[in-house]
Each structure stands twice: as structure tokens, then as C-alpha cells.
Amino acid sequence: MLGYAGSILIVDLSSGKIEKVPLTEDMARKYLGSLGINAKLLFDHTRAGIDPLSAENVLIFGAGPLVGTLIPTASKSDVSAKSPLTGLLGTTSSGYHFGSEMKYAGYDHILIKGKANKPVYLAIQDDVVEIRDASRLWGKDTWQTIDLLQEEWKSEEIQVAVIGQSGENLIRFSAIQNGKYDAWARTGMGAVMGSKLLKAIVIRGKGGIRVADKKAFKQVSREMRQMIIDSPFFEAVSKYGSMAAAGVYGKFGALPVKNYQTGVIEDWFQTRGFKVLEQYSDQKMACPACPVGCAHWAVVKEGAYAGLKIKGIEITPVFEIGAKLFVHDMDGILQCAAIFHRTGTDIVSGCGTIAMLMELYQRGLISEDTIGFPVPWGDVETICKLIRMISKREGIGDILAEGAKKANLALTGNDDYAMTIKGLEILSFDPRSRWSVWTFGILTNTRGGDNLRTRNPVENLRFPSLPDDYRTEPFGFPEEFYNKIDMPENVKRKIINPDRKTTDIILMEKWSEDLIAIFNAIGICTRPPSLQAQGPTSIARMLRACLGWNIDAEEVMLMGERIWNLQRLYNLREGEKREDSLFPKRFYREKLPDGPAKGMAIDPDQVNQMLDDYYEARGWDRKTGVPKEAKIAELGLGDEWFSVVLP
């Protein structure tokens, strides 16, 4: 098959059986790529209600049809399994080279089932797939493991997916590291890998990917690149990466300071804003075929952590460690981030959990004796110690390893300070100070409190947006930009109001969820420059040139909707209820104490109303959120639907 590598690798660790099955054109045409096919495989290869950490769970790596080609920013791969953290769909994306290497080796998807009887790692060199002993790697951190594997393979060119001590010890929010500095971090996929006693996957591909139409491909990929470069956010993002937005949220007073107790840090911009970047390095780093290069190489030159080298001064670690845990300086943030990477722990969930503990300590709800040492806000050494304890399940770490919500319940009997949605620790800014598509999206997200599956392609960060009107968000782009948005005219008119002042959050929500599902399925990055450059029309063009399919924008959006509904059906099968779509209690109960959004809290009735409308807009039952038969028929998901509705 053009574009695709054409095969799914199925490895049964229990029996040692390794099988290469073809990826059928039917499957590709229906579920498109990584995110979609992953969800389908997960649906088909697991029973309802299994224990996520049992041998019955499957771990699926998937890379989309455009990954490995020259299409700009097409590099993302997706890992799926039933999440040990949320009990729902576990799915997490990462860029870097692993996805393309999978394709070069000849696999679109790698499905791992069963459980090995001793620590192993999976070695893939094109057609040669071996399950190798990993006893000497077990217990090592991810960086050591990668060094050892590179030495064993005598090459720095191998791509490695590896778990650290966190994954080995089944920490429910452990990550799978994608190389040293990137990760499939969310929803605890590392623990699933660890439960299978699979330490690492080493992959080396020497094959190639062919496309349908060389000339058209060249043209469309160059046009896409130009469109990305022309995006209004290109300059800022390519210069500062995601840090470009760090200062803005500081200005809105939307920072998750000390577990969302407040939204303001006085010296935020001076100590943790994007300007700080320049002190560390001028080297940008890009994922394959990306013209943006949003990551940065950082070298700590002096101080306690001198000599630390790490990729990615990114908004996530800076928000999580710098605001949520209140670490003052960038050196400390980088040090904590390095420990997260080395132990293979999700930074967001890890910080959410540690922040919960610190708040309990601050409020005297837990004593120093219970923890064994004081846990003041912002102390780097304490944080690093806690991460290490969690990753080894030592002392208090054993309780924290279950995630913020369960740990909070275990420590105080309630979950007042666990900032989670559907069990997943939420990340980044405070929804009370800025209500937008993004904020509402973390509530409707199929994987829980995470924003990366919903990004508004016309989000405008210049305006603070306060939740007095829950239905709309300011638009605020010039007319020429409005004209450029890749959206069918009739949809555009519905979503964006006639005088181009506001966008409808519910409709935009549905649109962007479907669109981002497509982005993730084909492997394109969801950072603003590519997000604003591309839409269904351009995606259809790329798919036509690459895969040779006769496909149009409408079918593309239908595929996105299908993937989203399939994920929803999976969650319903695993027992998700409408009641789970709930913000952490603090956002309803406590008003923001200061900053521009002082005095704001979320109105539960408004949110409920929004949910009703959202379900309605999606063609789901208004009250339960179960997809209606008509929608299912339209999407062709009958089999899955029956297994959920009539189990």
C-alpha cells in the first residue's frame, strides 16, 4: 500500500509468537491511521472490563500514513492501551523519530499482548523481530538503558521506546520514553509496558515509503510548508517553541500556581518566561520533516546542576514544575524534568500528584511524620526525591504511585485536592481565568483531563476570556485570516458569528475534536503553526498525493468523527458515565483569589448545559452521552455500538 508500510506486527510475549499481518485497505480507509486504527485494535483485542495491568491488556504503537514522509510535521505516533490510571481509553502521542522508524522497518502498528516471564526487550530490524533478554537493563533508568542499548547495537541511530523504574514498578502514571527527551507520557502507558515485563523496544528500519504521485506530493508538501511558515504564530513558536505562550498565561493570571490555589506569580515572566530560553542554548531541535523546530537544546552551565543537558524547555515542564510545584528557577525546572525523564514518569500527572501532597502538607492535613520529611513548595531536591520514591514505590511514594485522585482518597478520605478529570491529572492553565474551546475540551476529551486532543485552530491568545458567557470565545483575527481558515463555508458561518467577533464553543469543539483526531491519525503535529495551516481540504490533498485515494474534505471530517465516536464507544464499554465529566471540585467551589480573573469560579449549571448541548451536537443522547443509532449508522460503527449498548 502506498504511504502505509502495510503491516501490523503482533507480538505475543506469553508464547513468544511473532506475527506480521497485513494492514488491509478497508481498515485503513475506515480508521485512517495511528489513533484510529489503534482504537480499533484495542477495541477488538481486549475484552470489556479487563484489569489494565494484566496480561490481557494490549499495548499498541501506531504511526499514521503520512509519518516518515516529507509532509511537514508528520512525525507523530500514538500509543494505546487500556489506561491503568483512568480505567478508560489510554492514548498518548509523541513525535521524534520512533514513528517514522516504525514505518521504515515496515510496520504501521505494533501490537504487544501477553506477558513475558522475565524482563525482555523487543528488537526490530526490518523483518527480523526478536524478543531478547533484558535482565541487565531491568532497574536501570531510561537514559542508562538507552546508552546501554546504543552500545550493544553499536549505533546512535536506533530508535528506542523504553520504560524507567516507574514503568517497571507499575506506577499508574508512568510514561514510555521515546528516546531520552520525548515521551508517550499520559495515561500510564509505561505501567502497561512494565506489566508485560517489556523494558524496551529497539527499532531500526532500512526500508522506504513510496507515495502515489511524486509530482503532486512534492508540490503539496512544499505548499503546506509555506502555509505553516505563513501562520501568524510561526515566528514566535519557531523561536521560542511552546514557551511562546508561557508569558501570555502569566499575564492572564491563569497559571496553575501551587496546585491551582492562585493564578499569579509576580516574577513569572522574568524567571520562567520565554526570554529565559536564551540563556541556555541557541540550538533548536525538530521532529522529522518539521520546519518549526519548537524544541530547544538546553545546557545548564553553572550552579548546582551544571553540566545537565536536556532537550526541550517546553511550556509543559515549565508550567507543571515552575507553577504547579512553584520551582523558582529554570535550572531547577530542568533538573526536575530530567528526573521525570530518567525515571520514565509523566510530568503532568507526577506534578499533579506531588502538588496534591504539597498542598495537603501546607494545610496540615498530612503530617511530616507520615511523609518522613517536610515537603515545602518549590524545593527541587524534595521534588526529585519524591519522584524517585514514587518511581520505586518507596514509603509515601507507594501511595502517590496510584495517581493524585486515589492517593488523595487514601491520605485524607476525600479527593478535594486531586486536580483530575476522569482520573487523569489536568495540565496547564486554570479554566477559571480563561474559558475557551480548550478548557471545555479537557472535559469532553476521551482520555480525560488533557487538552491535546482538542485545540481550537483559530484560538487567539491575545484576549483573556472570562467565563461569563460559556457559549462563546472571542475570535479576534483579521478578515484575511478568516478567509484562509480551511473550513467549509457553511460550517464556518455557523461556528464564527457574522461580525467575526466570537466563535461558538460547542460547534468549534466538535469541529476541532474531529480535526485533531485526523491530525493524530495521520501523524501531523497539533502545534499552532500546522494547526492553523491545515484543514480537511489540505489534508485530503495530501492523502490523495500520498496514498492515491480519491478522497475529499467531507470524507476526511467523517473519518475524524468516526475515530472520536469509536473512542467514545470504547470508554462507554469500559464504564464511563456522564457524571465522570466533572471538573475538579476546586474550580466550582473556590474563586480565584487574585490576578485579572480575581473572583471567578466555574458555574456547574452552565457546564451541565454545555455538556447537554455538546452531546446533542455530536448526535449523542443528550443525557447519557451514548451515541444515537442514526449517528452510528452514518459512521458505520454498528458492531462496536452493539457490543456497548447490548453487552
Binding site: K154, S155, E156, E157, K206
Partner: protein, 154 residues
């Protein structure tokens, strides 16, 4: 398994231990002229050049062999000699541009490195680390990396 030998001529000390190791492993006798790897020490001993079969893609030795005793193993890419078939005509010895083929004058057969089936003895015993067994896969070779390191390190 899919590798080739690469010699670092600057590191070679000319000790010829590899020749001894090779002949012992392959012929059960310490007889350097019957080794599959040869160290050519040039006049004055200044330059030392380990030579061995490079396992060319379209080998001349196979082309000149009058009895088809030299063939390419398609699965590994190695150029192998069928010693049963070899009539000892030395055409391959003369034709190889890289001193890659040796000659066993005891048994009257050509000698050719088979990389010890993926575990070359000469590499293991080379004290100076002058012989390396490397992946023949092109992208991106460690040599490029080493060169880049030299070129751009401050």
C-alpha cells in the same frame, strides 16, 4: 550479522596477531600466510595496511572464477568460497583490486574471509582496536559521526 570489517590504518601497530588468530581459528595451525586477513607493511614499516575481503556487491573474484566456486550469499550479502569446488587457479587472487583474497599454498585453494559467521576473531583479538566489525547498513555510518566530531568539535 550484516556487517563488514573496517580497518583503522592509523591504529594498526603491525603486530600481525590477527593473522595468527585467523589461521589458528580457520586452519588449526599458526601459519600467517594462510590467514584470511593480511597486514601489508610498507617499506620502512611506516604504513601498515590490514587487507581482507570487502564483500563487494558485484565482486570481480566471482566473475573471474572459472568454476563458480565464489558466490554471493543472498541472505547475508557475504561473498563465500566453496572450497570443494575451488581448483586453485588464483584468478580471484589476481583480480581482486583490494588484496582481499589470499591463497593457501598447502591445500592449493583460495582463502576468503567469511567474517567468522558474524563473530570475527581478528576483531576480538586486535589489541589496538584497528579492526572493527561494523554494520554495513549505510545510514548514517559511525564513520560520518566520527568525522563530524573531528570537524566541528571546538
Amino acid at each position: 550479522m550484516n556487517g563488514i570489517l573496517v580497518a583503522d590504518m592509523e591504529r594498526c601497530t603491525g603486530c600481525k596477531l590477527c593473522e595468527i588468530v585467523c589461521s589458528v581459528k580457520k586452519e588449526w595451525v599458526s601459519d600467517p600466510p594462510r590467514s584470511r586477513i593480511r597486514i601489508t607493511i610498507q617499506r620502512g614499516g611506516k604504513n601498515r595496511l590490514p587487507t581482507f575481503c570487502q564483500h563487494c556487491e558485484e565482486p570481480l573474484c566471482a566473475a573471474v572464477c572459472p568454476v563458480n566456486a565464489v558466490r554471493k550469499d543472498e541472505s547475508t550479502g557475504l561473498i563465500l568460497l566453496d572450497r570443494e569446488l575451488c581448483v586453485g587457479c588464483r584468478a580471484c587472487v589476481s583480480a581482486c583490486p583490494l588484496f582481499g583474497v589470499g591463497f593457501d599454498s598447502v591445500e592449493n585453494k583460495a582463502l576468503r574471509c567469511d567474517l567468522c559467521h558474524g563473530d570475527p576473531a581478528c576483531v576480538k583479538y586486535c589489541e589496538a582496536g584497528a579492526i572493527q566489525y561494523v554494520d554495513r547498513d549505510p545510514f548514517p555510518t559511525n564513520k560520518q559521526r566520527a568525522a563530524a566530531k573531528k570537524l566541528y568539535s571546538p
